[in-house]
Symmetry: C2
Subunit: 440 residues, 2 copies
Amino acid sequence: MAAWMNEYGDVAAHPSQDVDLDALAAAAADLRSRLRDNYPFHHPRYAAQMLKPPHPAAVIGYVTAMLVNPNNHALDGGPATAALEKDVVAQLAAMFGFPEAPRHLGHLTSSGTIANLEALFVARETHPGKAIAHSADAHYTHARMAHLLGIESVAVPSTADGTMDLDALEALLGAGRVGTVVATAGSTGLGAVDPVHEILAIARRHGVRVHVDAAYGGFFRLIADDRPDGIAAAPFLAISDCDSVVIDPHKHGLQPYGCGAVIFRDPGVAQHYLHDSPYTYFTSDDLHLGEISIECSRAGAAAAALWLTLRLLPLTPDGLGAVLRPGRRAALDWARRIEESDELRLFQPPQLDIVTYLPARDRLSEVDAVSAAVMAAGMARPPADSLFLATYGVDAAALAARGHPVEADVPTGRILRSVLMKPESEAAVPWLHEQLLGLL
Amino acid sequence: MAAWMNEYGDVAAHPSQDVDLDALAAAAADLRSRLRDNYPFHHPRYAAQMLKPPHPAAVIGYVTAMLVNPNNHALDGGPATAALEKDVVAQLAAMFGFPEAPRHLGHLTSSGTIANLEALFVARETHPGKAIAHSADAHYTHARMAHLLGIESVAVPSTADGTMDLDALEALLGAGRVGTVVATAGSTGLGAVDPVHEILAIARRHGVRVHVDAAYGGFFRLIADDRPDGIAAAPFLAISDCDSVVIDPHKHGLQPYGCGAVIFRDPGVAQHYLHDSPYTYFTSDDLHLGEISIECSRAGAAAAALWLTLRLLPLTPDGLGAVLRPGRRAALDWARRIEESDELRLFQPPQLDIVTYLPARDRLSEVDAVSAAVMAAGMARPPADSLFLATYGVDAAALAARGHPVEADVPTGRILRSVLMKPESEAAVPWLHEQLLGLL
């Protein structure tokens, strides 16, 4: 970019922004030192929350654009990165089987929360006065954003595999107060995938809108092929007929935070966003992304990072799909080892790449105490010997429903949970399992 | 960070994420080529919208943390960057004169829009059923976010300097339906600063909450000293007694997008955010920032970038304040030159670093046509000879109120507008003005 910048002629940097280079080096060293108080998201030892570093291509794309600092709000602020954003959103829409632009409407957001907020906002505007239904295992943001929007939200009970109970949904929609169902594909806790195809059929019978929260699971569309190391196809294939979908490239899309996306099947929902501003949108009559987004300033760098990444790892089974498959195999392999062990129980079979498991104990208080102790002990080890796991809160009823009867001597307790979203996790499963057993 | 990463032991990268280095180089070159379709935000030739590149310290801080990719939602995702976020928010709160933590509550957001949404959400929760008032010149996000929140919003007329009309406010608050007033310091269009101190006095008499949208102008607090190259002190000093304030470090804080912030004077508003999640917030009982934020995943890198920048350019008149003062002087100097010219008229005196001006013409249609032509002609020149200006929509009444009688032969028209937020603008004003005259 330096050559491009220089075309505009030299400019003497103003001294007010000068900093002492030794002071900068010292402060940067201090920052690096402070960042050591972190978890090794990059390493297979980290088998805890849904975190991993971005792909180098994403870093290169992000930094290249960040040096210019375009704002994708208006074409006046970022014509080049707005074009890149339209390109990557079209790729995401195509992955879900949506018709080509302009027969869909979508944009990037800074997070899945904001993407879901926009989807629920459009749901409210298209079905005014009606409630939002989501499963009890859906991300808590739905209830929270519904509250923000002044919409009633209803939690549909979950089945024993953590997905929406269809009989309960049918009964709820029959009562007529719900305007939109949120299907989760898959849940951020358990990686459970709601039966989107069946939810869609029920919703359509009742004239109800369907939004799919695929913030976590969306990229699994690339390996939704019913193969042994793939995942169930039907729920993901049905997304193409739903009204809106949210996906977070900063989860399985190899991007740094914040990069979410929302896509609507009907481009006509743009009417709910329309507004005008006295000082933007002037350089062009083309679509300014700020006209179809509730956020204003947004980093063009996020679009550049995703665009460059998808150039190298396209949204195909052999491209980005090949990055997801090892994590899926890792989850299946670890689940099998856990099932075969005496010391551990598999909470439920993994549907994506998240494994949940618990120490074999008779009382919930013991399950909780041992889980917490194992998590703490793994993290307390020296780095080269460490193991990082996460926990997940359950009650005895949720355990019993999955065939793990425990005495409910406390209302809730923690079990263990591992998100295996790094392809490196696959090779690590044998020692992940062995180290886990050693910590029990 | 590589040394820290290596402490956890070698890990063979999975081949699915490998990319051909020649293909990466070619794609990155293509990205750089596409980014040439941009505006030279870095150069004083760019005297248009509020855009400029981040400070190198911000880039270093952002990239360093991005390589780890922490998530400031929960301490489980980013303990180090959450600590940095608490540190920088404390610095911002101190700049506004708020009491020390824990006697305020605040966090970073991905944008000013979300920061303002949170402030209005808390306003709704604390004053249920009441409307939001803002000036007619306030950012359009307030009316939009009020609609999102299901709150009535009322635009208070602006005076001839683009600030809130206090008599109109007094009358409105007397009617009793408003629960919160948004004071703008300063407006993103004109850089006009509402009289926060007077608004606060009126609001307090009526038991009304005061939120200050200082997304654009907040850092001017550092030079709010009534000096010739500073700005009026009273509105900014009064922020310390208001209920909440929003500031965007990605505007005058030298940060890349997206970095906003919201700060509440009463830490008790945390109750409106509270929620629980079955799988986060486990590693610590300390405050997880996701517990007091409506966003979930958020880039820890944004906090690291701001922290490193403020280490080198602290929130003092001699630190970051010295970066703002040249832009202020540039605006005053250019305004004087425009006033002394025959071909141009100054729309209104600049209160911050934004200058608005128009070609001397008798009819609004001519003002509009010449303004648009000047903007287009400046951008059409070769880079080394270019000039980038922005436009701003007005009507004849707004012009007449400021002493520029024009014939209202069209309902609205464009005038010219320049945000001089780069310190390099100061040295450039003579040729900015000369080139502008050459384009008329």
